[in-house]
Each structure stands twice: as C-alpha cells, then as structure tokens.
C-alpha cells in the first residue's frame, strides 16, 4: 500500500485525459453555443455597416441636411428636380405611432391587469393563448383589414372623403402592438412578489387599491418598458401602415388625413430604385435614421428595466 501512494494520481490524470467521443461532442456543442451567442452581435453590426455603407454616399454627397429634415417635398423620381424631404414622412410615422399608443396602452395594460391579477385557471390560460395568437396575425392581413373593412366603415361613420389615414392605421397599429405590450406588462406584474399584495390586503386595501397603489408602482419599470417596446413596434411596422395610412405625402391637420410613414416609403420604393442611384441611397439614409430611432428606444427600454433592478 505505501509503495503505491505516489503513483496512482498521475496515472489517473493521464487516463482521464482521453479525447473520446464525449470530449468532441462537448467541444462541438460549446463552439456552437458560442457562435449562437455572438451571432446576434455580429448580425446587428453587419446590418448597421451595410445600411451605412449604402446610405453614406448620400449623406456626404447630394444630401442637404436642413432640407432633408425640414422639407415636406419627397420627389425622388422627379424629372425636373429631385427633392428629398422627409418632414411629411416623419410627421406621418410619429402621428400614426402616437395614436396607436393612445389606443394600445389602455387596452394592453387593462388586459395585463385582468390576466395577471383577476383571471384564474382556465380563463387565464385561454386569454394568454388568445393574446399570443393575436400577435401571430401577419401584418399584411392587418393591412388588408384596414384597406377593405376599416376604410368603408370610417367613410360611412364619420362622413369623410377617405378612410385611409391616421385613424385607420393608428387603430390597426394599436391592435398589432397590444399583444406584445400585454405579454411584457403581464410579466412585469407577475414579477411583483405576492407578499406585497398579501401585505396590502392584510391592511384592508381593496383590490383596486392593491393594484393602483402597490402593484403598479412596484412594476412601473417593466410597464414602462412594455410601452417603449410598443412604440418601437409602431415605428418599425411597415406593411400594415403602407396599406392603411393612405401612403400620401401630406402634412396632416386632422386625424382623418392620409399620411405616409418612413418605413412604408422604403418598402414601396426600394424594390425598383436603381441600385446606387441617389434615390436608392436616400432610402438607405432613411434606413439609418430609423435604425438610430429604434436603437435609442430599445436602449431606453433597457435602461428603464435595469434602473429598476438596481433600486430593488
């Protein structure tokens, strides 16, 4: 026995260092997981580089920054003098998203409170599935609903000349953004410890007092993030807005006016814009602008969530 004491450990270590099948599987999986992990970073950088590369020739070339942001005249294919002004498009995107949020925020917060705080058992599960199903409706279907159903409905109800506009696309976009906002808001409500609710109830608070005075303040960061993500969804939505907004270059004065969104302009015109032309590059410049807006919105949502985490 004593003679063996010094030997076995080295021998065991040597024995264990066998590159068998398991070793290779382990290595392979860890490489795959690593590639998957960094792929998002690589892709987002790649997309940013691509958009910038295509658009930068316009930014430093024919673009007049002041005209680009303050002129409502978007005439990229004009034969006499092409003008690139996105003011009307920015106003269009902002007004449609604004109305969509006015509609979606009360709806989705209400739905989240009902699913998270009131509904139980089967009702709750059914509602959750239905809300997620709503998110699965393709945007072109929403757009068609706007064009074929909402348009005549708005014309008849409000006696206006056309039903494609801020109201139509705002409602459609609100309904599209509501499911994702509901899901995230409900997660935020669920993250509030039950102890908070029980403590409040023990002190005689009514159900509404519990929700408004205890649960909402505790979940406010998550709810804020839900709203911001909804805003991001609104800015980025293309097909439904293209079909329901009227796609008309116009500075709106009422909620019934037709407008045109930044995303819809890219979608409608990029396909046949000659590659490398000023028109093509101007569309990519809009792309850079949209990318930056969405990035800022998502960053804000992220900071809001993290800020809450630190305080707790």
């Amino acid at each position: 026995m004593p003679a063996d004491v010094g030997q076995p450990p080295t021998k065991t270590a040597m024995d264990l260092d066998v590159r068998g099948q398991d070793w290779y599987v382990d290595k392979l999986v860890s490489v795959l997981v690593f590639v998957g992990g960094i792929s998002a970073v690589v892709l987002i950088l790649g997309i940013f580089v691509f958009i910038t590369k295509e658009g930068v020739g316009f930014v430093f070339g024919p673009m007049e920054v002041w005209e680009f942001f303050t002129s409502p005249f978007w005439r990229p294919t004009s034969r006499t003098e092409a003008t690139y002004g996105i003011l009307a498009l920015m106003v269009g995107t902002a007004s449609v998203t604004g109305l969509a949020m006015l509609i979606a925020v009360p709806f989705s917060l209400g739905a989240a409170v009902f699913i998270g705080e009131f509904a139980t058992g089967r009702t709750r599960e059914t509602l959750k599935v239905l809300v997620e199903l709503l998110a699965a409706i393709p945007s072109v279907v929403w757009g068609f609903i706007g064009l074929a159903i909402m348009n005549p409905l708005i014309i008849e109800t409000f006696d206006v000349p056309i039903g494609l506009g801020i109201l139509n696309s705002g409602i459609i976009l609100g309904l599209m953004a509501a499911p994702i906002m509901t899901t995230i808001a409900e997660d935020a409500l669920k993250a509030v410890p039950d102890g908070y609710r029980e403590a409040a109830e023990a002190m005689g608070a009514t159900k509404w007092q519990v929700i408004s005075k205890v649960v909402f303040p505790a979940a406010k960061n998550g709810l804020m993030a839900a709203v911001l993500l909804g805003v991001g969804r609104g800015f980025g939505e293309t097909m439904a807005v293209l079909m329901a907004s009227g796609h008309s270059i116009n500075l709106p004065t009422s909620v019934f006016d037709s407008v045109r969104a930044l995303t819809a302009t890219i979608a409608a015109e990029l396909g046949e814009a000659p590659v490398g032309s000023d028109h093509y590059r101007a569309l990519f410049t809009i792309g850079i602008f949209l990318f930056l807006i969405t990035f800022v919105i998502n960053l804000m949502a992220d900071i809001v969530i993290r800020g809450g985490g630190r305080k707790r």
């Binding site: 409502p72 005249f73 978007w74 005439r75 990229p76 294919t77 004009s78 034969r79 006499t80 009307a88 064009l147 074929a148 348009n151 005549p152 014309i155 006696d159 206006v160 000349p161 056309i162 039903g163 494609l164 293209l242 079909m243 009227g246 796609h247 008309s248 270059i249 116009n250 037709s258 045109r260 979608a267 409608a268 015109e269 396909g271 046949e272 814009a273 000659p274 590659v275 028109h279």
Partner: protein, 309 residues
Amino acid sequence: MCIILWDEFPILVEILTRGTTMNRFFRTAPLVVFLLACGGGDSSRTVIQNRGSDTLVNVAQAWAEAYSAIDPRVAVAVTGGGSGTGISAMINGTIDIANASRAMSESEIEDAHARGVDPIEHIVGYDALAVFLHPDNPIDAMTVAQLANIYAEGGEFEDWSQLGVTVPGCSSGEIIRVSRQNNSGTYAYFEEAVLGGAEYGLGSRDMNGSSEVVELVANTPCAIGYSGLAYATDHVKMPCVSFQGSDCVAPTTSSAVDGSYPIARPLFMYTNGEPTGAIGAYMDWIKSSVGQCIILAKGYASAAPVTCT
C-alpha cells in the same frame, strides 16, 4: 418519374425517418442516386430564363405553361420583380428574355452595348390604362386634359363640383386621387401620356399595387384611380376617355389594339440579338395567334388584331 416521386414525397419522408440509422442509410442511398439521375435527365432540356415586369408576369407564366405542351424539351422559367429588375438582368446577360412594361432607356441600351449585349425589342401586346371611378360617380366620359388637371401639380380640379357633378356618398366633394408608387412602370407611363411630362401633385394616395388601387376606389365614393385594364373588377366604373376633341373611347382590349384608346402602353419583351433556336421559336410562338390569344384571355390587348375562339 420525377413527378411521381414528388407526389410520393410525404410517404418517402415517413419511410426515411423511421428505423435505425443504418436502415435509413440503406433506404436513402438508392433514392439519392435515383434523384441525381432524375435531375441529370433534365440536362437535355433547354431552359429559357425569363424575368421582369410584374404587369406581364401572369401572362408570361401562362405562355410558359402552354408552351410546355407544345415543346416539352423547352422549359421557360418565369420570375417577376419589376421591369427594372428584368432590364438590368438583361444588361448583365443573366437571362434570355426580359419582360418590360416600359421601353429601355437610351442609357440602359448603352450600358447593354458596353457589356456586349444587343437588346432587341419585341412588342408582345398592349395594356390599356383604365381610369377607375366609384360606381356611384355619375361621370361617364373624361378627357385627358381633365385627368391632367386632377393629377398634375398645380392642377385646377380639387372638387367634383368643378367637373359639374355631385357624387352620392361623397359629401365633402373632395377629389381623392389614387395613384401608384413613384417608380412603378404604370406611374411613369401615366405621367408621360396624361400629364405630358408635368409633375404629379403631392398628396395622392400612392398604392403599392394595381389591385389595391381598384380595391380602394371600389370602397371610396370620392376617389379616382388608374391602372391596367386587366385589374378592373365589377366594383369600379371605367369612364371612356377622349384626347383633344377625339371621340370618347371606352377602355377595352380591342380599342387598345386598334390604337383608338388614348392611354394604352405597349408591353415589351427584350432578347439579346435576334432570337434564334429555342428562344426564337418561343418568341415566334408568342407572336403567333395562339400566343396572342393567351394574352387577350388574360385581359391585355394583343399586339395585332387576332381572332380567337
């Protein structure tokens, strides 16, 4: 054989996914060999690559299908993507036939020559651009000058009362202009033929497809729109159009063929040089009465008058 295999595909998948790896390998190996042979068998067929105009894509598809019965050794692969896409593929020499709803520009032809491609233009039909009104609109006849005054920048007409009508269901009277996105061939042709080179006024509703134009006008009493005749439905009204005091002509395939309808555009196919061999035979067949009756049946006008049964 290949088609039979395709029909059996779900069953094959089921067979292949059952059993052990070894079993699966032995089942798959002969199949792979067979599939390769099947793919290889096609090499004796001639494939004609045909790309371009979305206006023409349905017709081109119908031609390709009908032609496969005439000459089974020739397969025509049709893709859309727009006139611009087809023309640039022609310039780059990657396709055999380009479809276009507009003529190639001078600079595009120069580009093609610089790359050793000699595009030859073939008119394969005509497309009448119909003006669409809501069925309740009392207007039955319009002039090109009226259309220009409605659509062009600085045009006079903004209200239906200026045209002497009140449209039921359109209480504000505002003319809702429905147009197309600014780089479509239809938009460009309408600008040239109707506006006479003037700019479109901003504020029109620019739809992303001809069928959306029809859908919107059908549902909107105040609206006016334009698009290819082939997209018309029973839910819209098409007024006759007159040009500089000529007779008012209704948009039909026959009035587009004989040139009496003022806003009809030719539809083109481009080949690299005078087509020979399989491509030449295909182009001749398209221009024959059989091919021309197919384009008529799709709602476009033939390049020359034909009688179809």
